[in-house]
């Protein structure tokens, strides 16, 4: 595991999260929210482009961001399971807004802590990407927090559904803080952040938001991870099929 692998994994998190969020455009409960989720996905896509471009530049021969996004197969993606999952809690509601809000809160809170720390990485490129991105995910976190407060401390229906959405997302939180995939020498050299060290500040933030929203921290077992090793849930295939089919149907096409 080297700097390329590290940048690639972080880039895959942002790329797959952005791709999934795109499903909400024109499907959110308000037109303002269509715009919001579109903008958030665009920020994440921008972060993914920088990270994948950097990862590809460290390969020999060099690969572009497009090579990496469109021409890798499922086992070569290293994103966490959290970002690849579909949006449903119940089969009859395959796209639940509560799940979007819960995932946005988890992801943006984690990314705020990660990018903040990574902005002082000894790797200049990672530091520059992170210093830019931290301003963006900070705004995403504010947005998610407003919705969690509004839904959690709203009606009985919104409260119940917000809690159910948090419970559904929570098994996938632990994988974000798993250290196993990060080479300790990268951490020692100040290139990478040890994921477990982000857990305490993450929990502090989350506990505060949930308390104000009259919600409780889910007490559920962690799911079996594996995303960092390229082992994904069955839902990953659908994400990649949609993201990659155009490029693979018409290789080399431009417009």
């Amino acid at each position: 595991m080297n700097t390329r692998d590290y940048a690639l994994s972080l880039g895959d998190d942002a790329l797959v999260a952005a791709q999934r969020m795109g499903e909400w455009i024109a499907a959110a409960p308000q037109i303002e929210e269509d715009v919001a989720v579109g903008n958030i996905a665009l920020d994440l896509l921008g972060q993914a482009r920088s990270l994948l471009t950097y990862a590809g530049s460290l390969e020999d021969p060099v690969r572009t961001e497009d090579d990496l996004a469109y021409w890798r197969d499922e086992r070569e993606f290293h994103n966490v399971h959290l970002v690849e999952r579909s949006w449903g809690v119940l089969p009859e509601r395959p796209r639940d807004f509560g799940v979007l809000v819960a995932r946005l809160l988890v992801l943006s809170t984690y990314l705020c802590e990660l990018y903040d720390r990574l902005s002082t990485s000894t790797d200049e490129t990672l530091a520059a990407v992170a210093a830019k991105a931290v301003k963006e995910v900070d705004y995403h976190r504010d947005h998610a927090t407003l919705w969690v407060l509004r839904l959690g401390d709203g009606t009985e229906e919104s409260h119940t559904r917000m809690q159910a959405a948090l419970d559904a997302e929570w098994p996938y939180v632990a994988e974000l803080f798993d250290d196993a995939w990060v080479d300790p020498t990268l951490v020692e050299r100040g290139v990478a952040v040890l994921p477990s060290t982000l857990r305490d500040p993450f929990d502090l933030r989350i506990v505060d938001v949930l308390a104000r929203a009259t919600l409780h921290l889910p007490d559920v077992a962690a799911a079996v991870g594996g995303g960092r090793r390229g082992v994904h849930t069955e839902q990953m295939g659908y994400v990649l099929a949609e993201m990659q089919h155009l490029t693979r149907s018409h290789p080399g096409a431009t417009w």
Binding site: E32, V35, A36, G38, N39, I40, L42, D43, L44, L45, G46, Q47, R49, S50, E124, A127, A128, V129, A131, K132, A133, K135, E136, Y139, D142, H143, L146
Partner: protein
């Protein structure tokens, strides 16, 4: 005309041994305008007789609305976009109380949506003249 220099996107222009090097920085990581700006720059230089131009993107230091010139802010307001306010210092909580309506000048305005037509803007509405307007968010 609002220029990329007014917006603080243009970072430097240098004569190098192998031609002119123009360095620009994106407002947001995913700013889709960057490719268009690069193409426009190359076309403008070509029209001016220079075809030895490279345009490079840099991320550090990260762009901030503090780099926008006063002239740039004035022009934004002329176009109906409320310019960014000065950024709070580190450790100070950002709080946008109210913006002046770029159409009628009223301070009686409210935020409609935290996200607007592009990543760099939020959507506001004026309570006096009832017109909506974009606000360039301070970052």
């Amino acid at each position: 005309m609002l220029t990329i220099e007014d917006l603080g996107i243009l970072r430097s222009v240098d004569e190098t041994d192998d031609g002119l090097l123009v360095t620009i920085t994106p407002t947001y990581s995913g700013c889709p305008a960057m490719e268009a700006i690069r193409a426009d720059l190359l076309a403008a230089f070509r029209d001016a007789g220079r075809d030895d131009v490279r345009v490079e993107f840099v991320l550090a230091p990260a762009w901030t609305t503090d780099w926008m010139s006063d002239e740039g802010k004035r022009k934004l307001e002329e176009f109906g976009i409320a310019p960014p306010q000065p950024r709070p210092r580190d450790g100070v909580v950002a709080l946008t109380l109210s913006l002046r309506c770029p159409q009628c000048g009223s301070p009686d305005t409210r935020e409609l949506s935290r996200f607007g037509s592009t990543a760099c803007k939020s959507l506001w509405v004026c309570n006096s003249c009832a017109e909506p307007f974009d606000h360039f968010k301070a970052i």
